[in-house]
Symmetry: C2
Subunit: 147 residues, 2 copies
DNA sequence: AGAAAGAATTGGAACAATTCTAATTAAATT
DNA sequence: AATTTAATTAGAATTGTTCCAATTCTTTCT
């Protein structure tokens, strides 16, 4: 499980002009940095509020556009818990999400090493899984919480 | 995997006046029967359209109310795929959902017998999982499809 | 049974998240 | 520099869902 803030601060000027085939505009860099920087799965609104601090003229539409572009180019992942506002995650490793019901915080959870989908699901022969989304909700002991 | 229509037809008049602590009104019986009857994970709109055939005056608000009541009393499950309209499922066995990307059809998938969440996820010690939602999308071979 | 209270249904208004539109600005290409 | 292409912006529109207040239905009480 991880919620640890990355030790380095991502700065827009360090981001190359193109990333994964996507032209990185000023706004896209800002949104991307902010996600990489505070890896806490913010909503589009959260991103909008944070982005405005360094870029007061950015619009909510642009935030949505940037997030969509980043998601389409697989630089960022969109995470849905039920029908709550989508959240965005810059962790590209295969992982799933756990929401602490006490704090609302979302944590990344990885699969056991070497585990395969057919090891735990009774999938019919020949089915090809293209997308998997797994979300968990529950309670974390406070000892685990602070790390 | 299952999409098999149940062989018996559920009729509202067979439903008891109360189910799992929920008073079964005429509308709730209708909605519940219809879900039990065609186990294809319809949306609220789908339910509304189907319900109107036998109950032309039912309102969409009532369909939402009924579904909410049934879900709260754990007679029916709400299923979300990304931000698409919620779907409703009368299968109370523990299971997850697979959507066929070619047809849009949703199929129930069960866990391997005896499997535990800690067998496939790297969950920190002491975390208590209260809810789990797993959705899959992919391609089914047409042989598997028709059963 | 009849009256009163409580609960559910209804149609339409309100809502929240997201998407769309058309105008403006910025960047890339010629 | 002029032209073409792409991105950003503010605000309107859309969509699924929830809320509201009035009406109807059911249950409880006398
Ligand atoms: Mn859920
Ligand atoms: Mn998804
Ligand atoms: Zn994540
Ligand atoms: Zn199901």
């Amino acid at each position: 499980m991880s919620e640890s803030a990355s030790p380095v601060k991502f700065r827009p000027e360090e981001i190359p002009a193109e990333l994964g085939g996507l032209r990185m505009t000023k706004q896209r860099k800002e949104v991307y940095c902010l996600l990489m920087d505070q890896r806490d799965h913010p909503t589009a609104q959260d991103v909008f509020i944070r982005a405005k601090e360094r870029m007061p003229n950015i619009s909510l539409a642009t935030v949505y556009n940037c997030l969509e572009a980043l998601v389409n180019h697989e630089l960022v992942r969109q995470v849905n818990f039920d029908r709550a506002p989508s959240r965005y995650c810059p962790n590209l490793e295969e992982h799933v999400h756990f929401q602490d019901l006490e704090t609302g915080a979302i944590h990344d959870v990885v699969f056991k090493k070497g585990i395969n989908i057919n090891d735990f699901l009774e999938l019919p022969e020949g089915v090809e899984v293209r997308e998997l989304e797994l979300t968990l909700k529950g309670i974390m002991p406070s000892s685990t919480k602070k790390n």
